[in-house]
């Protein structure tokens, strides 16, 4: 357990740990196989991750991708069938959850309905035998941190969803765990509240400096909050990186499709040199970053906001693809176009155009247009 003498010591301890750079959480080849009706089902198959001290780290993926199982193995609710879980360098594989220095915020909040807000938050401290006076002080601080002062005597069932969320957060944070695990904590809240709680979470994480591991299927949430994201699919980490890296440079077809919208163009490589390839698609030749063998069939991806409708001549060196507008959706600040590229392979391209020009320049359904983007804005996806 971390020092209990005061925030100053905790901060000193933190910087100390940053210096020797022991990751708060390390997963080494962790896998989990369930037996279900005589069949072995692999939920997680060999995950390697290092999550640094004070990092806001997200596990992002669709339901059933293994992100929750991975988190539950860190908390100790599931034992891995293979691999090692380390907290601050110490192997905790096989250690029961009540002896692990991590705390969890549950999707259902799991507040104890028979206890007051105060007793809920004090639960962890009392289990550790913290003296009553210090329990009172630290619970008071936690209540203040989540802005629930005055509601200590209330039963959690009498609070709103957002307030219950804050109690769950305070109940975990008050223990000053080496990492806080959050399992889709905002999923039960409505959109407005979810957005304000996102900002709130970010603020609290900055204030307390504790490592946050955040499980979510909401890519927007992961991009907004995280320092780094692990995109998971089928029990494996598909890509690991900062929000920018994951969004701008999707490493796999799955990541490209799961995070944001991506256009996929397939074609045959006709030239390759200096990290740039030329690909012949049904609608014309385009260039993209990457390398591939001549004659290989590849898929390249380009984000909708990187594409513009060419008014006059395109920039020298830019890609250009002719097509016909089949849908134009006006959204105020932007217009979303769906364009059928020329050629017979039925490629449809989505682009988001900022409405900086007047309405006269907007393309309409059926208009012939030319799409253009810079070659370094599109990438070859690995097979």
């Amino acid at each position: 357990m971390a020092s209990t003498t005061g925030p100053g010591t905790a901060a000193a301890e933190r910087t100390g740990q940053q210096q020797d750079a022991v990751p708060a959480i390390a997963l080494e080849g962790v896998s989990k196989t369930y037996r279900s009706g005589g069949e072995q089902v692999a939920a997680v198959r060999g995950v390697d991750l290092e999550i640094g001290q004070g990092e806001f780290f997200s596990l992002l993926g669709p339901s059933g991708c293994g992100k929750t199982t991975t988190m539950r193995m860190v908390a100790g609710f599931e034992e891995p069938t293979g691999g090692t879980v380390r907290l601050k360098g110490a192997d905790v594989t096989g250690v029961p959850p009540h002896r692990r220095d991590v705390n969890m915020v549950f999707q259902s909040y799991a507040l104890f309905p028979h206890m007051s807000v105060f007793d809920n938050i004090a639960f962890g401290l009392r289990r550790k035998g913290v003296p009553a006076a210090e329990v009172r002080r630290r619970v008071g601080e936690a209540v203040e941190l989540v802005e629930l002062t005055g509601r200590e005597r209330t039963r959690p069932t009498r609070l709103s969803g957002g307030q219950q969320q804050r109690v769950a957060l305070a109940r975990a944070l008050v223990n000053r765990p080496s990492a806080l695990l959050l399992d889709e904590p905002l999923a039960a809240l409505d959109l407005k509240l979810r957005q304000s709680m996102q900002m709130e979470l970010k603020r609290i994480q900055r204030d307390v400096g504790i490592t946050f591991v955040y499980v979510t299927h909401d890519q927007g949430e992961a991009l907004t909050l995280s320092d780094r994201i692990a995109v998971m699919n089928g029990g494996l980490v598909e890509q690991l990186g900062t929000p920018q890296e994951v969004y701008e440079r999707p490493a796999t077809r799955f990541t490209a499709g799961f995070i944001g919208t991506s256009n996929l163009l397939s074609g045959e490589v006709t030239a390759s040199s200096g990290g740039v390839i030329e690909v012949r698609t049904g609608g014309g030749a385009v260039r993209a970053a990457g390398s591939a063998a001549l004659g290989e069939r590849v898929e390249i991806t380009v984000r909708p906001e990187k594409i513009t409708l060419a008014a006059g001549a395109v920039e020298p060196g830019a890609c250009e693809l002719p097509g016909t507008v089949i849908e134009a959706v006006y959204l105020g600040s932007t217009t979303h176009y769906t364009v059928a590229a020329d050629g017979d392979d039925g490629t449809e391209i989505v682009l988001h155009q900022q409405n900086t020009a007047g309405p006269a320049e907007a393309a309409r359904r059926g208009d012939r247009v030319r799409l253009t983007w810079r070659p370094d804005q599109s990438y070859v996806l690995p097979r």
């Binding site: 908390a75 100790g76 609710f77 029961p96 959850p97 009540h98 002896r99 991590v102 705390n103 969890m104 549950f106 999707q107 259902s108 799991a110 507040l111 104890f112 309905p113 028979h114 639960f123 962890g124 289990r127 550790k128 039963r155 069932t157 109940r171 975990a172 223990n175």
Partner: protein
């Protein structure tokens, strides 16, 4: 009567047509509910009322005026008092033993998957659905074969046997409704498995345990059929009453019945209030 009212208060204008009963629009659900409540409460109302009956002679079956003397004289029959004491002792012990055993059984059935779970279910339901005469006769032959003298303890064993299933079913329903994350949260916050049970699971199950315990108490205190087989020389409250029916049941029986009923209702109300407060 309605004709009289109409004559006394003639309609000032004829704008509003005379209200006619539209049978289809009547709130039949409401009347039906009250009819069922009256049906359920009628025997109890009679029991309570005849505890205040100024009955003369042996039989307490016709209303003869109000009195409180049976309440003042409630322990006039030492045999009856002894029988009631035996019944209360058996009922309280049944409640405690069946409460613990049934609570654990309900927890196991609601929480875990184990070999023999389906069989346990079957045994539980057969204990509920088997005719009492058969159970009573079976228990008697069992005790005789095993050379166990029938009496207070055999009654207790029999009562625990038939009430444990009710506790288990009540508790299981509550366990199934519990969010498993609650116990995980306790573990996560540093509570050992035993502390988790003591601080989270047990308080959450308490209303169901109370409800199950009350059912066990009620089943025990008025059981006649099974008790009559295994009672030996012990006389319980229902056995004593049945023994007096031919010679005349004294009003004290109504008084005791009323008191038992009142305590039962009080406990049920308290339990409901507690359950509500705990959400």
């Amino acid at each position: 009567m309605s004709a009289a009212t109409e004559r006394a208060r003639p309609a000032p204008t004829c704008r509003r047509p005379r209200r006619r009963v539209d049978w289809g629009k009547l709130d039949w659900g409401k009347y039906w509910t009250w009819a069922v409540i009256a049906w359920l409460l009628a025997p109890i109302a009679f029991m309570v009322a005849f505890g205040f009956n100024d009955a003369q002679g042996r039989h307490n079956v016709t209303w003869q005026g109000f009195t409180l003397r049976w309440y003042a004289d409630v322990f006039a029959y030492p045999d009856l008092t002894r029988a009631l004491a035996a019944s209360l002792a058996i009922a309280v012990l049944t409640m405690l033993i069946a409460g613990v055993l049934g609570g654990l059984l309900g927890l196991a059935l609601g929480r875990f998957r184990f070999r023999g779970k389906a069989l346990t279910d079957l045994v539980m339901f057969s204990a509920i659905s088997a005719p009492e005469v058969v159970l009573g006769a079976g228990l008697l032959s069992m005790f005789l074969t095993m050379n166990i003298a029938t009496g207070f303890w055999t009654i207790l064993i029999a009562h625990v046997m038939f009430s444990v299933s009710f506790v288990a079913i009540t508790v299981r329903a509550r366990v199934l409704a519990l969010d498993p994350a609650l116990e995980e949260a306790a573990r996560d916050l540093g509570a050992s498995p035993w502390a988790t049970f003591r601080l989270v699971t047990l308080p959450m199950l308490f209303p169901a345990l109370m409800a199950g315990g009350l059912i066990a108490f009620v089943l025990s205190i008025d059981d006649y059929i099974i008790t009559t087989f295994v009672s030996g020389n012990t006389t319980t409250f229902p056995l004593w009453i049945w023994g007096t029916t031919r010679v005349g049941t004294p009003p004290q029986v109504n008084v005791m019945g009323t008191l038992i009923f009142a305590v039962g209702v009080l406990l049920a109300v308290i339990n409901a209030a507690v359950a509500r407060r705990r959400g």
